[in-house]
């Protein structure tokens, strides 16, 4: 009980909140990507593979150029490229979208493994470091809010901004309307003069950009290094966060906070000597995800045509 009281002390609560926000960064970004993709009608279980690829490419470029900005940029481009493959397979070649996602996930393991061993593992050059924490002038000094929201590194700021951007794009713009139409009833969208293929291509590739940015969080913001398999299933949890968040940006954000918070709290309880085996705590997010998809998700909120390949007749 003492431990819980410790956690509840104010300073710690702020720390916990800040840690939760940081840890939610890749989840939020991948979930945003996932929902752009699925709102247009394409299932994306490739988020994990996209993030892994981007984590690697971002690191490799930063490592070789000693430029973190270029690293971030490369991660985004790599995410777009590999998501492009998912788009081509599932849209042009009408491959089962889950099979296509599986291809991406396996391919990511292969490519990152092969190139990591060839270029990075044996290299004895100093790494590129991590993205710096920017304390925003003024805002960063506000008590409680400042340390949580305004003393972060680039990828976290970007994630926060993109939640708003994706929300506006999806619900306020022409593109968003067309995206939702393509995901709900592609044939109706086509008869209204919309190029469903184009909408889906763009959204799948955009999801690659978002998840790619999330991927470089691991190598360039969190660790400053690349390790094979370092995304550790976060792409799949992001998918669950998107579902829990009912395919909306704000919902996905809140769900990501919940999942990340469970992890952050687990780590803290450990520090305060709460005797729960760490493996049991480690299971929490996964158990929570199952509970969510099994029970908490309302019925029939998924885009009606998601997962169904569209063919012009």
């Amino acid at each position: 009980m003492d431990a819980f009281l410790h956690v509840l002390q104010r300073g710690d609560l702020v720390n916990l909140a800040a840690a939760t926000l940081v840890a939610s960064t890749p989840l939020v970004l991948a979930a945003l990507g996932g929902l752009m993709c699925e709102r247009s009608g394409v299932v994306n279980i490739a988020l994990e593979g996209i993030m892994l690829t981007s984590a690697f490419v971002g690191y490799a470029v930063a490592f070789n150029t000693h430029n973190l900005t270029l690293g971030v940029l490369a991660a985004v481009l790599a995410g777009m490229a590999i998501a492009g493959l998912h788009a081509v397979l599932s849209i042009a070649f009408v491959v089962d979208q889950i099979v296509s996602g599986t291809v991406i996930n396996i391919l990511a393991v292969g490519i990152t493994g092969v190139f990591y061993r060839a270029y990075i593992q044996q290299a004895e050059v100093r790494g590129p470091g991590v993205l710096p924490v920017w304390k925003l002038p003024g805002l960063g000094d506000i008590p409680i809010v400042g340390p949580i929201f305004f003393q972060q590194a680039f990828v976290t700021y970007a994630a926060l901004a993109l939640i708003v951007v994706v929300h506006l794009v999806l619900f306020r713009t022409v593109w968003g309307l067309r995206t939702r139409a393509s995901g709900e009833h592609p044939r109706a969208a086509e008869t209204a003069g919309i190029n469903v293929y184009l909408v889906r291509y763009v959204n799948v590739i955009a999801s690659g950009a978002l998840a790619g940015l999330g991927g470089c969080y691991f190598s360039l913001q969190q660790v400053g290094n690349f390790l094979p398999g370092m995304t550790g299933g976060q792409g799949f949890i992001a998918l669950a966060a998107m579902i829990f968040g009912r395919w909306t940006p704000l919902g996905s954000f809140l769900a990501s906070l919940l999942f990340a918070g469970a992890g952050a709290l687990a780590g803290r309880l450990q520090i305060y000597g709460v005797h729960i085996p760490y493996q049991v705590l480690g299971m929490l997010p996964y158990v929570l995800t199952i509970v969510v998809v099994a029970g908490a998700v309302g019925r029939a909120v998924a885009p009606a045509a998601v997962g169904k390949p569209y063919r012009r007749s």
Partner: protein, 491 residues
């Protein structure tokens, strides 16, 4: 084939299901490429490769299955594809709502731009479709089977809208297979059969009987030969049944009915009044909220589909491809879908495939299924033959109650006659038949009694002389029984 449509006219395109009407119009609208031939619009030769091309020319189409996106608002559905946007692609919501409201007002369509399409009735959804076409500046409007989902009264409302459009100089192509509508709304009529134009005429120059002959290619039996029913004990009873639809709205609302051995009870009604939910609840495919279903004196309200099958229920489902046959499996397997795990088709868990094949060969013969053999996959058969497979299976289980939902939808004339004959034969053999059909003609020609369903309730059950097309039409539209009787006397 050739087709010429003039401005300011309603041009009816008449033909059976599968005659090529919809295909032709999909070519005109750019959804399908033509293999050869040319198209002229306003005298100039045009190429239409996509719906965009068609829209650009001023061609609009209202599809048989609405091309609306249910969770979006009316305004969003109307402007989709031709949105007015401010900077950065942000939709100007106020302007689009205003435009939609104005258009709706001008043509008397009465549609609220902020309503979600999924909350609207079918008739209003159709007006949203028309609005969509008008918003895109359509001068030639193609209506594909527009009345199949409407009440007779809604149909009359649609005709007025159509006349209003042609009065302003637009042209309307009206695709249908209903003769009565053609006679009342069309200025010109083109009859199609098997992808060819077989006649071009006007209502004044022809009669419904002529048109029917042209459409089908031979005189049709408008009535099915059947003797009077000899009803026995009730075998299917539905008491105070309430069922929810997929959106958790009450679709069947305290409905009661009863079907007796040796009679056909026809359930007439406009689609979407709870028929689908009622049929699924009787078949055990949808949970009930309250009420009872009794099958041959056994209560089956909560029983599994399998238990009902064993209790004597045969079910010809409305959507053949979704629920009737498994297209990828051979005919033989499709014919034992309900019985595959019982003797003589299985011993323990091992299937006895020779028996399954023999059984299939027999049924293929007695039900006149045109197939290469028992091992041919069901997907390779024509719609009519697939339906015969379903009918054969459901009747070979030895049912005492047959529930036939839209049994002849999308089926050729020969098969329709065969299936109708089968239904009557089964009635004569003592089965209780519940026939659910949105084709009023089918109900009128087969049923011994007619129950009219409206908003999940039975509006009236008619017998003998009471069975009258106009009366049923009014009941389908929600008129009360006493009102119907009054108009009956007045007219």
């Amino acid at each position: 084939m050739d087709l010429t449509v003039e401005w300011g006219q309603v041009h009816a395109l008449l033909g059976e299901n599968g005659a090529g009407k919809s295909t032709l119009m999909n070519v005109v609208y750019g959804l399908i490429r033509a293999d050869s031939g040319e198209m002229r619009f306003d005298g100039a030769q045009v190429q239409v490769h996509s719906p965009q091309d068609a829209i650009g020319l001023g061609i609009g189409m209202v599809h048989q299955h609405f091309m609306l996106i249910p969770p979006l608002t009316v305004a969003d559905n109307v402007i989709l594809g031709q949105e007015t946007a401010r900077a950065a692609g942000v939709i100007d919501g106020r302007a689009s709502r205003r435009t939609v409201r104005e258009l709706s007002h001008r043509y008397g369509l009465q549609v609220d731009p902020d309503a979600r399409v999924q909350d609207l009735s079918v008739g209003v959804q159709q007006r949203v479709e028309i609005l969509k076409a008008l918003y895109r500046g359509a001068r030639l409007l193609i209506l594909d089977e527009p009345t199949s989902v409407l009440t007779p009264q809604e149909t009359e409302g649609l005709f007025q809208i159509v006349r209003g459009l042609t009065a302003e100089g637009s042209a309307v192509i009206f695709i249908t297979h209903k003769l009565g509508e053609v006679m009342s709304v069309a200025d010109r009529i083109t009859v199609m059969r098997r992808g060819k134009v077989v006649a071009s005429t006007t209502p004044a120059e022809s009669s419904p009987a002529d048109l029917a002959r042209l459409m089908v290619g031979r005189p049709v039996l408008l009535r099915v030969d059947k003797g009077p029913a000899q009803p026995g004990l009730p075998l299917l009873q539905v008491d105070e049944l309430s069922v929810l639809d997929d959106r958790r709205q009450l679709a069947v609302d305290g409905l009661s009915l009863e079907v007796r051995a040796g009679e056909i009870l026809g359930l007439a009604g406009v689609e979407g009044n709870g028929q689908v939910e009622l049929v699924e609840a009787i078949a055990g495919l949808r949970p009930t909220r309250s009420g009872r279903v009794t099958l041959c004196d056994r209560e089956v309200t909560a029983a599994s589909p399998r238990r009902r099958l064993r209790a004597g229920l045969g079910h010809i489902p409305a959507d053949r491809h979704r629920m009737g046959v498994i297209l990828e499996l051979p005919i033989s397997d499709n014919l034992v879908l309900g019985d595959f795990d019982r003797p003589p088709f299985a011993r323990g868990i091992v299937r006895l495939l020779a028996q399954v094949r023999d059984h299939a060969a027999q049924l293929i013969k007695s039900f006149d299924v045109r197939a290469e053999g028992p091992q041919q996959v069901a997907g390779a058969l024509s719609g009519g033959n697939q339906q015969k497979v379903v009918v054969a299976r459901e009747l070979s289980n030895g049912p005492r109650v047959l529930m036939a939902a839209q049994p002849t939808r999308g089926v050729d004339v020969g098969s329709i006659e065969f299936i109708h004959r089968q239904i009557v034969e089964q009635r004569d053999a003592g089965l209780a038949v519940l026939l659910v059909s949105s084709e009023l003609d089918e109900v009128l020609s087969l049923a011994d009694r007619v129950a009219v369903i409206y908003r999940g309730q039975i509006a009236a059950v008619l017998e003998g002389d009471e069975i009258d097309r106009d009366r049923i039409g009014l009941l389908m539209a929600g008129a009360k029984t006493d009102e119907v009787a009054a108009t009956g006397e007045g007219g």
